[in-house]
C-alpha cells in the first residue's frame, strides 16, 4: 500500500465521516422536535411563560425561521462549539462541558489502562496455563465480570473498600493531582471490570487459537527462544483480532462511565448527561450527545487505521 492508497483510504473514510456527522447532527437537532410539546415548551421547561421570555427564546433559537434554516443556524453555532445555554443553569453549555471533561477523560484513560493491562495480561496468562487452576479461576472471574454492570461493581467496591474497609473515599473527584487519582481509583476499577473481562476473554481465545497454529509450532521447531516466540509470533498475531474489538470496548467504557459517575457522584460528562436527560435540558443534552458521538467516530477511524498498519495482509491485499 503506497501513499496513494493511503490517501484514498483516509479520504473515503473522512467522506463517510462527514456524512455520518450530518446525519447525527440532524438527529440531535431533531430531538428538540421529537420531545412532547412545542419547542418553546421544551425550552421553557416549566419556567413561567411570558411574552418576554417566549420572544427571547424565539430570537435565541431562531424559532420564527423555517425548520431547515433553524437547523443550519444551529449547526453553524455548533461548529463554533456554541450549543446555547443550559435550561437548568442558564450558563453556556460549552462552559459546563469544559469544566467536566477533564475528570471524565481522566477516569476513562485510567480505566482504559487498567483494562488493557489486566485484560491482556491475564488473558495471555490464562491461555498459557490452559485448563490449569490459574486458567479456571481467571475464566470463572471473566464470566462474573462480564455479567456485572459497572454500577453493581461500583456498589460492591464501595461496600468493601469504603464501608467495611475505609481505604478509599466513597464519592467525589478530589482536589487534583494524586488526590484525584486516589478518588478515581474505585470508579476506574468498577469501570474497567467489564471491559477487562471482555478483553480477557478475547485475548485468551485469540492466544489459544494462535498457539495452535502451524507457524508457532514451526517457530519452536527452529529452536527460537520462548520469549521470541511469544513476542513475535503469539502476541503479534493474537493482538490483531483484539484491535477489532476496541470499538465495542470504547462504547463499553462510555456506557460504564455514565453509570460509574452516577454511582460515585463524580461531576463528569456522564453525570451531566443523566442530569440533563432527567431535567429535559435539551440544549445541554444536544451538546453532550454531539461531543460523545464525535469522540466515538474518531476513535473508530483511528482503530481502522491502526488495524491496517498492524495487519500486512489487509495492507498488501492488492499489492
Amino acid at each position: 500500500m503506497d501513499w496513494k492508497d493511503w490517501a484514498t483510504f483516509v479520504s473515503k473514510r473522512l467522506a463517510a465521516l462527514v456524512v455520518l456527522f450530518v446525519v447525527l447532527s440532524f438527529v440531535t437537532f431533531a430531538l428538540m422536535y421529537v420531545s412532547p410539546g412545542t419547542v418553546v415548551d421544551v425550552l421553557l421547561a416549566g419556567r413561567p411563560r411570558s411574552a418576554a421570555t417566549v420572544h427571547a427564546l424565539n430570537v435565541e433559537y431562531h424559532l420564527d425561521k423555517p425548520f431547515m434554516v433553524q437547523y443550519w443556524m444551529w449547526v453553524r453555532d455548533a461548529l463554533r462549539f456554541n450549543f446555547g445555554s443550559s435550561i437548568q443553569t442558564t450558563l453556556p453549555v460549552t462552559d459546563e462541558i469544559k469544566a467536566r471533561l477533564p475528570t471524565s477523560l481522566l477516569l476513562g484513560v485510567y480505566a482504559y489502562v487498567l483494562t488493557m493491562v489486566s485484560g491482556i495480561g491475564l488473558g495471555v496468562l490464562a491461555a498459557f496455563r490452559n485448563k490449569r487452576a490459574v486458567d479456571r479461576v481467571v475464566v470463572a472471574g471473566t464470566v462474573v465480570g462480564l455479567s456485572m454492570p459497572s454500577f453493581v461493581a461500583g456498589v460492591f467496591l464501595l461496600f468493601v473498600f469504603a464501608v467495611q474497609l475505609p481505604w478509599f473515599p466513597a464519592f467525589g473527584k478530589g482536589d487534583g493531582g494524586l488526590d484525584t487519582l486516589w478518588h478515581l481509583t474505585l470508579p476506574a476499577v468498577a469501570l474497567a471490570m467489564t471491559s477487562a473481562a471482555y478483553v480477557l476473554k478475547h485475548t485468551r481465545a485469540a492466544v489459544l487459537g494462535v498457539l495452535q497454529q502451524d507457524y508457532v509450532v514451526f517457530a519452536r521447531a527452529r529452536g527460537l527462544s520462548n520469549g521470541r516466540v511469544i513476542r513475535v509470533y503469539v502476541l503479534r498475531n493474537a493482538l490483531i483480532p483484539i484491535l477489532t474489538i476496541s470499538g465495542v470496548l470504547f462504547s463499553y467504557l462510555i456506557v460504564g462511565g455514565v453509570l460509574v459517575e452516577m454511582t460515585f457522584s463524580i461531576q463528569g460528562i456522564g453525570q451531566l448527561l443523566v442530569q440533563s436527560a432527567t431535567a429535559k435540558d435539551l440544549p445541554m443534552l444536544q451538546g453532550v450527545v454531539l461531543l460523545v458521538s464525535a469522540v466515538i467516530i474518531l476513535v473508530n477511524l483511528l482503530t481502522d487505521v491502526v488495524y491496517l498498519i498492524a495487519d500486512p495482509r489487509l495492507r498488501l491485499k492488492h499489492g
Partner: protein, 610 residues
C-alpha cells in the same frame, strides 16, 4: 532391529504417544523403533492416523500438552524424551530440524520472509549487511535467486516458494537431522517434484540425515534409502526401498502397493484393502492389520506381534510371514500385469457439449479468466478425464456443468438444452438437467450436512427429483446398497462415518437423481490410498451396471489412466491436449502434458535424479 550401528545419529526405541484426558489415556502411537544413520534418507510411510506426524512431533518435543510420549529416543548421547523445555531449545533447529506439511500455515503472516530466515540463523551478533548477505545465501541454497523475496510477506508468494522459504528457515541452524512431514503434499504435482528434488540435492550436499514422512509410497521409494511402513500407530515393516517395492513382507504393505494405481499402465481391477484404518487404541493387543487381512488367523489376534528381523535390515511385524511369503510374492507379481487394451470409440450421443466456453470472474474491476475458449464433450456412457493442476480451470468447468456457475462466453449444451444462464432456465429444463448431470465433491468431510442423518440427506435427494416416490425409505435403502453400505447406515450422522463411507453416501446422493453423467471433482483425492481404490472400483462397477458416464476432474494422472477412456489436459484455463487416454499418456505431445507426466511420482530414485 540391527543395533543401529555406530554411525546412528538418532535411535528411537519403543516410542509411545498417548492422549491424556484426566485419569484415562488413549494410545495414539504404540511402540515405534526407528534408527537413522548419518547422511541417510529414511522414509516413514503411512495413511492418516498411522501416527507418523505424531512421531515427528514427539522427536522435536512439540506434542500438544495433552499428549505424552514415553520410550527412548537417543540423539547425540541424550535421551530426547527426558529433556526439559530449556534443553530442547538446544536440540531443535540445531540438532533436529522440522519442516511441516502446509506452507500456507507454516509461516507467520505478519513477518517478512527475510526476517523469518534471519531469526532462525545461529545466534550471534551480525551487522545488518552480513545478516542480509547470509539470508540471501540461504535463499540461493533453496533455489531462490530473487533478492526481493526477502522483503515480501509469505502470503505474497506461491505455495512452492513458501515451502522453499520454510525449508531455508528449518535449515538455518544447520541441523544434522531434518524431519520433513509431508513437505510436498499440499503442493501441485509439478511443484511437488521440484521440492522433492531440492530436498534430495540439499540432503546430498550437506550430508545431512533426512526423515521423510509421506503417505505416498512412490515418493518414499524414490527418495529414501530405507522405508518404515506405519499402520495404526505401529511399524509393520522396514526395508530398503528397492527390496520393499519388489517384495513386501507384510500384507498391509502389499495392499498399499496394490491399491496404488500405476501411472504407466492400466490394471484390470485395483486390488483393495477392505474396511478402514482402526484407531490405534483399539488394536494394541493384536496385529493392527488383522481385521483387514486375508491371511489373518488366531496368532494374529491373540497378541500384538513384535517386529522382527527376517534378513539384514529387513523387518516385519507379520507373525505368519514364513507361511505366507510365497503368496505375497505371487500377489506382488500379479499386480504388475497390464490389463488388455480396452476397445473404445467416441460414437455415443453427446450429453455435455462445450463449444469455446469461457468463464471470467469479477465484474468491472479485476478480471480473472478461469476458462478461455474451452471445448469439451462428454458422451453417453463415456468416462472422460479432465486433468490439470490448481488454477487450470478444471474445477470451474465442472461447476459450470452442474449450475454452480454460469458461462460468460461460448456455448454449453447439456442434453440438448442451451445452458447460458442457469438462473434463467425454465423449471422443466432445470429438472431435466438435474437428472442428467450430478456431481460428487472432493471433500467427503464437508460435502454432507453435519446436522442431518444420512437417511435425511438421501431422502431429500430422492423426493426432490421424484416427489411422488411411494416408499422413500425403500429407495434410500436401495441407494445405500448400491454404494456398498447397509440400510442401517441411514440413521447415522456423517460425523461417525469414515471418509470412505461419507464419499459413498455422497455418491448415493448423486445417484438419487438417476443421472446419466456423474461429475467427480477430485472425488478420491482426500481419501487414503486403500480407500481411494475402493471408491474407484465402486465407480467402475456403477458404470458397468448402470451405464453411467463420468467426467473425472483430477490432478492425478494415474487415476485418469485407470478409469477414463478419453482425456482433456488443461493448463491456465485452456485445453492443451486431448485424445484417447492411453494415447495421450503413452506419447504426450504438448510440453505441459510431458512435464505433468514427468512429475508423476515413480518408485525409483532416477525420478528425482538420485
Amino acid at each position: 532391529m540391527a543395533a543401529g550401528g555406530l554411525d546412528a545419529v538418532l535411535t528411537v526405541r519403543d516410542l509411545r504417544v498417548a492422549h491424556i484426558d484426566g485419569p484415562s489415556s488413549r494410545t495414539l502411537v504404540a511402540g515405534i523403533d526407528l534408527t537413522v544413520r548419518a547422511g541417510e534418507t529414511v522414509g516413514i510411510v503411512g495413511e492418516s492416523g498411522s501416527g507418523k506426524s505424531l512421531t515427528a512431533r514427539a522427536l522435536t518435543g512439540l506434542l500438544a500438552s495433552n499428549l505424552s510420549a514415553t520410550g527412548q529416543a537417543v540423539f547425540e548421547g541424550r535421551d530426547l524424551l527426558s529433556l526439559s523445555e530449556r534443553e530442547w531449545r538446544t536440540v531443535r533447529g540445531r540438532g533436529i530440524g522440522l519442516v511441516l506439511q502446509d506452507p500456507f500455515t507454516m509461516l507467520s503472516p505478519t513477518m517478512r520472509c527475510g526476517d523469518i530466515i534471519a531469526e532462525s540463523l545461529p545466534p550471534g551478533r551480525r551487522s545488518t549487511r552480513t545478516r542480509r548477505a547470509e539470508v540471501l545465501r540461504r535463499l540461493v541454497e533453496v533455489g531462490i535467486e530473487d533478492e526481493s523475496v526477502m522483503d515480501r510477506y509469505t502470503f505474497q508468494l506461491s505455495g512452492g516458494m513458501r515451502q522453499r522459504v520454510g525449508i531455508a528457515a528449518a535449515l538455518a541452524r544447520n541441523p544434522s537431522v531434518l524431519i520433513a512431514d509431508e513437505p510436498s503434499t499440499a503442493l501441485d504435482v509439478t511443484t511437488q517434484k521440484e521440492i522433492l528434488e531440492l530436498m534430495t540435492r540439499i540432503q546430498a550436499d550437506r550430508g545431512m540425515a533426512l526423515i521423510l514422512i509421506t503417505h505416498d509410497l512412490r515418493v518414499a521409494f524414490a527418495m529414501c534409502d530405507r522405508v518404515h511402513v506405519f499402520y495404526a500407530g505401529s511399524v509393520v515393516e522396514v526395508g530398503e526401498s528397492k527390496e520393499l517395492d519388489a517384495l513386501p513382507l507384510h500384507p498391509y504393505t502389499l495392499g498399499l502397493l496394490q491399491s496404488e494405481p500405476p501411472v504407466d499402465h492400466r490394471v484390470a481391477k485395483l486390488v483393495t484393502i477392505p474396511g478402514a484404518v482402526p484407531r490405534p487404541d483399539d488394536v494394541v493387543d493384536r496385529c493392527s492389520f488383522a481385521a483387514r487381512c486375508q491371511w489373518s488367523s488366531e496368532v494374529c489376534t491373540s497378541a500384538a506381534p513384535p517386529i522382527r528381523e527376517i534378513s539384514a535390515g529387513r523387518l516385519t511385524a507379520c507373525a505368519r510371514i514364513d507361511e505366507i511369503e510365497d503368496e505375497l510374492r505371487e500377489a506382488r507379481q500379479l499386480v504388475s500385469v497390464p490389463a488388455s487394451k480396452r476397445g473404445f470409440e467416441r460414437a455415443g450421443t453427446t450429453i455435455i457439449s462445450a463449444q469455446a466456453v469461457s468463464k471470467v470472474f469479477g465484474g468491472s474491476g479485476q478480471k480473472v479468466v478461469a476458462l478461455d475458449s474451452v471445448s469439451i464433450d462428454v458422451g453417453e456412457g463415456e468416462s472422460v478425464g479432465l486433468v490439470g493442476e490448481s488454477g487450470s480451470g478444471k474445477t470451474t468447468f465442472a461447476r459450470l456443468t452442474v449450475g454452480l456457475e454460469s458461462i460468460t462466453g461460448g456455448h454449453l449444451l447439456i442434453d440438448g438444452i442451451d445452458v447460458r444462464d442457469w438462473r434463467a432456465l425454465k423449471r422443466a429444463d432445470l429438472r431435466r438437467l438435474r437428472q442428467t448431470v450430478q456431481m460428487v465433491f472432493q471433500d467427503p468431510y464437508s460435502s454432507l450436512n453435519p446436522a442431518r442423518s444420512v437417511g435425511w440427506t438421501l431422502a431429500e435427494a430422492v423426493t426432490t427429483h421424484a416427489p411422488d416416490t411411494r416408499s422413500v425409505e425403500r429407495r434410500v435403502g436401495e441407494l445405500l446398497a448400491s454404494v456398498g453400505l447397509s440400510p442401517d447406515d441411514a440413521q447415522r450422522r456423517p460425523a461417525v462415518l469414515s471418509g470412505g463411507m461419507r464419499q459413498r453416501v455422497a455418491i448415493a446422493r448423486a445417484l438419487a437423481a438417476k443421472p446419466r453423467i456423474l461429475v467427480c471433482d477430485e472425488a478420491v483425492s482426500a481419501l487414503d490410498v486403500s480407500v481411494q481404490a475402493q471408491i474407484l472400483n465402486l465407480l467402475t462397477s456403477l458404470r458397468d451396471d448402470q451405464g453411467i458416464g463420468y467426467l473425472f476432474v483430477t490432478h492425478d494422472l494415474s487415476i485418469v489412466r485407470q478409469v477414463t477412456d478419453f482425456i482433456y489436459v488443461m493448463s491456465r484455463g485452456r485445453v492443451v491436449e486431448s485424445g484417447m487416454t492411453d494415447d495421450v499418456l503413452n506419447a504426450p505431445q504438448d510440453p505441459y502434458t510431458i512435464k505433468l507426466m514427468e512429475s508423476m511420482p515413480r518408485p525409483d530414485g532416477a525420478w528425482l535424479g538420485r
